[in-house]
Amino acid sequence: MSPMARTAPVPAATDPAIIRNFCIIAHIDHGKSTLADRMLQLTGVVQQRDMKAQYLDRMDIERERGITIKSQAVRIPWEVDGTSYCLNMIDTPGHVDFTYEVSRSLAACEGAILLVDAAQGIEAQTLANLYLAMENNLTIIPVLNKIDLPAAQPEKYAAELANLIGGRPEDVLQVSGKTGMGVEALLDQIVRELPAPVGDANAPARAMIFDSVYDTYRGVVTYVRVIDGSLSPREKIQMMSTRATHELLEIGVSSPEPHPSKGLGVGEVGYLITGVKDVRQSKVGDTVTTFLKPATQALAGYHDAKPMVFSGLYPMDGADYPVLRDALEKLMLNDAALVYEPETSAALGFGFRVGFLGLLHLEITRERLEREHNLDLISTAPNVEYEVTLEDKKVMRVTNPSEYPSGKIAEVREPMVAATILAPTEFVGAIMELCQSRRGILGGMDYLSEDRVEIRYRLPLAEIVFDFFDILKSKTRGYGSLDWKADGEQVSDLVKVDILLQGEQVDAFSAITHRDKAYAYGVMMTGKLRELIPRQQFEVPIQAAIGARIIARESIRAIRKDVLAKCYGGDISRKRKLLEKQKEGKKRMKMVGRVEVPQEAFIAALTTGESPKDKSKK
């Protein structure tokens, strides 16, 4: 067993040979944060009394949901055979929406710990990230966690992991982040197995940004891994994608609290502070060099985060529009992937069309806006981005169904995804049925072990953004897991379905669907609205239409009686209070032509019914 390092290597003067950069690839709930906490404790960088559960997950939402949204890096010392090593643990986001950020975290490492719950086995996103790590030539250390659980099946899952990475089951480490069992051995293994970083100390500086976080007091904190050369304080740095230069106000390492240093050398991981206020000026994947001796070649793999899913966000109370605008502005400082523009809906008033990396990103953003800015929001059904080519060859990109052109359309292209689903073999039939019904094309199927299978489908993104994951979960009794990545576009036979109330189109309910599904959408939405909209003093026809063609219709009969029959002495107070309540309720009504539609009807018609919390536990 190794003791705690007696002397920690000093930043900016650390020989790359004693550096080990690694990350932990794990599924949510498989215990990554607990293991990381245990490492911080064992290496002595965090004192027992300072230990908060899941030290690295900073945001409340992260801690509550048990997921990591933003990654961070921690420098920890560890001694093996009398040599003090410097371990940099880079925490990776654990969700499907953040694949690009994960890929950059992986690119900052030489090795990865593949951490899998010994009671559950590997999940789809973990598998996807493992493949990503293997593509990046990372050395993988397979580890089973939670082996103290009674339900643990270490033999079974060790075999599964060995099978995946081409090793032997007996080489799979067994640990318990909770009790600390096996964690020291794991630290030793990291030192022994992972290669040391290699770089040219005399070349112009090149450091890769793998994370960038906005801090209210310090501005943007940028996390980098130095590949070549070195960075020192008070130096002018340059971002290679934009050629923008910044003064380096502070440079240092996290351990896990920030410690300013004399710089960062080859293979080192640390943070930079330049005083910029917007994470867009310090983009993940970009290469940092120095202004005086700039590198000529940027590091590979950089691209802009591209929003995939769009939704309209509207304040429940129109008066909150400025609050929402300011809140989005603030959030953008810390979220380079977020894009938005103002939008007006006849039904919902003033709001924003917001682009997200995926559904979880949408839900987290919405929750943060509501929680941190005390807003009540309506979000419209999520959409993808369509490329519409008109007959006159004009090309439009449509992220909101209400902008869908009504003229002659030559071709519509929709984004596709490559989806990977892992599940017990008994659910293969149900999964294939689901994917088939979502216009999926089977790409392949592999057995991970005797009773677990990996199924690959190519699916339109639009088919998985609404309720796909929930249905997958229910069809697999909770065992199915999903990962996806963008996979080009395809031409599809798509149409816009409009919903009309008394002949007036309600933009919030329009949808772009495949032609074969238009009728089902029309029937579903008109039926839903018939239940949700209270009867008016006149009959209200509800229609679903493709262009001028009505494909489904319902009608809300006129209300004939709306009066309290008995109104005597003791009824008066009660009746008056009811009227006062109704008067309040009327303020929350939106007028569509002459029809009063309660806010609740919009919300209910635009949501699937289950809480977003359940959906995010992927």
């Binding site: 003093q537 009686k561 009066v563 002495g569 008066i572 009660r574 009746k575």
Partner: protein, 409 residues
């Protein structure tokens, strides 16, 4: 009338003293008395009124002692109003409701009435009504009530159709009603009958039978209410469990229109959403006082009172009620003092229910503006509106709450 659930309000003081605004303008308002009799022979499945079967209560709340307890509240009311600066006013109406007032002996009812009249006096031609169950009156008891000062009786007939009465848990046999009506006329009493429509299982034909039967007794007055399913009643539970079908507003509308047509044909005219009278003089003046915002004191457990924009309500349980009065304390459980806006809201809500209508000139600009829309929607009589009074059409009576909301915007 004392509905089951009491409103939430401010605490009421034990001395029963009223806030200053209660006395303002009182000389111009009529003063009435409501006496709640909290007893029934059986509890009806739809009823959420504050009522108890005869054997449930003891002490000052028992059927035998109740008259004495009610008289104590009469004394208390007289003292509290005088001490609050209200002028001496004679009673213009008295109404005994329940429960089933006629479960008490006629002598008990006249004793309570006598105590009130002894305290305040009666205006000339005052209206004194009691509700009655056709089963619990005799020729003699009705005569005794008339001799004791009662001028009017309101029979709870509800329906003429046995299977409908059964769902309502009403025990009287329909044949009893014409007999009771005849005795009441003999005694010189003005006669009203109450009907309920929209009971689960009641067909339109059943309802027509009930209306025609009621009209065949040639009453001076008819009240017809749609059945309201109140939470906490046996009927609500039966509907929740699917044992009886739920009530249907469209069915109510059809039956209301049918009843209104038949009443008119028989010479009765509506004067309030749920009330029809043979002549304007046959309208129930006590109830009109509620809608016109006059003053009344409600005697009895759970009874509501209103004096000059102050509303209060007594504790519900008869034993708690009796104990309060025994200690010389106000039996009020809570009260509310209405501000001018709230009083205006009530005025619009209540007077718009009446055929005498709401003077459009008394409304604010936005409410006046809304009247045109109500005329266009055929909810308000255009000719009467042209002459300055808002009076509901038949369609408007059925959508009366919508009219009120439009006027409140």
């Amino acid at each position: 009338m004392t509905p089951g659930a009491l409103p939430l309000g401010d605490p009421a003081p034990a001395d029963g003293l009223l806030p200053g605004q209660a006395a303002a303008g009182a000389v111009d308002r009529a003063f009435g008395l409501y006496v709640h009799i909290p007893f029934c022979a059986v509890r009806c499945g739809y009823c959420d009124f504050n009522t108890y079967t005869a054997t449930e209560l003891g002490g000052g709340a028992s059927q035998d002692a109740y008259g004495g307890t009610a008289v104590r509240e009469v004394e208390f009311a007289a003292r509290a109003m005088a001490a609050s600066g209200l002028p001496e006013r004679r009673l213009s109406t008295v109404f005994f409701g329940g429960g089933t007032p006629t479960l008490l002996a006629a002598g008990e009812l006249t004793r309570i009435l006598g105590a009130a009249v002894g305290r305040w006096g009666l205006e000339d031609g005052a209206e004194v009504t009691t509700e009655a169950n056709p089963d619990s009156v005799t020729r003699e008891s009705l005569q005794e009530l008339a001799d004791g000062g009662f001028t009017r009786v309101s029979f709870g007939m509800q329906s003429a159709v046995p299977h409908v009465l059964k769902v309502l848990d009403r025990t009287h046999s329909p044949e009893r009603v014409p007999q009771a009506v005849a005795w009441a006329r003999e005694a010189g009493l003005n006669v009203s009958v109450d009907l309920i429509y929209g009971t689960p299982g009641e067909s339109v034909a059943d309802w027509e039978t009930s209306v025609r039967t009621a009209l065949s007794y040639e009453p001076d007055h008819i009240s017809a209410y749609s059945l309201i399913v109140e939470e906490g009643t046996k009927l609500a539970a039966q509907i929740r469990r699917g044992q009886v079908p739920n009530i249907d507003d469209d069915d109510h509308a059809v039956k209301y229109e049918l009843a209104d047509a038949l009443f008119q044909e028989a010479g009765l005219s509506w004067y309030e959403v749920s009330n029809w009278a043979r002549t304007p003089g046959d309208a129930c003046r006590h109830n009109l006082a509620y809608w016109r915002g006059d003053d009344w004191w409600g005697i009895g457990p759970g009874a509501h009172s209103h004096v000059g924009g102050v509303r209060w309500w007594n504790v519900k349980h008869p034993t708690a009620y009796a104990n309060r009065l025994d200690r010389g304390e106000s039996p009020a459980a809570g009260r509310e003092t209405l501000d001018p806006d709230t009083r205006e809201l009530e005025r619009v809500m209540l007077t718009s229910r009446l055929s005498e209508g709401l003077k459009i000139g008394t409304l604010g600009p936005s409410a006046r503006h809304a009247v045109a829309g109500l005329i266009a929607a055929e909810l308000v009589d255009p000719v009467k509106a042209f002459h300055g009074t808002l009076v509901l059409t038949l369609k408007g009576r059925l959508l009366g709450d919508a009219v009120t909301r439009a006027l409140l915007d």
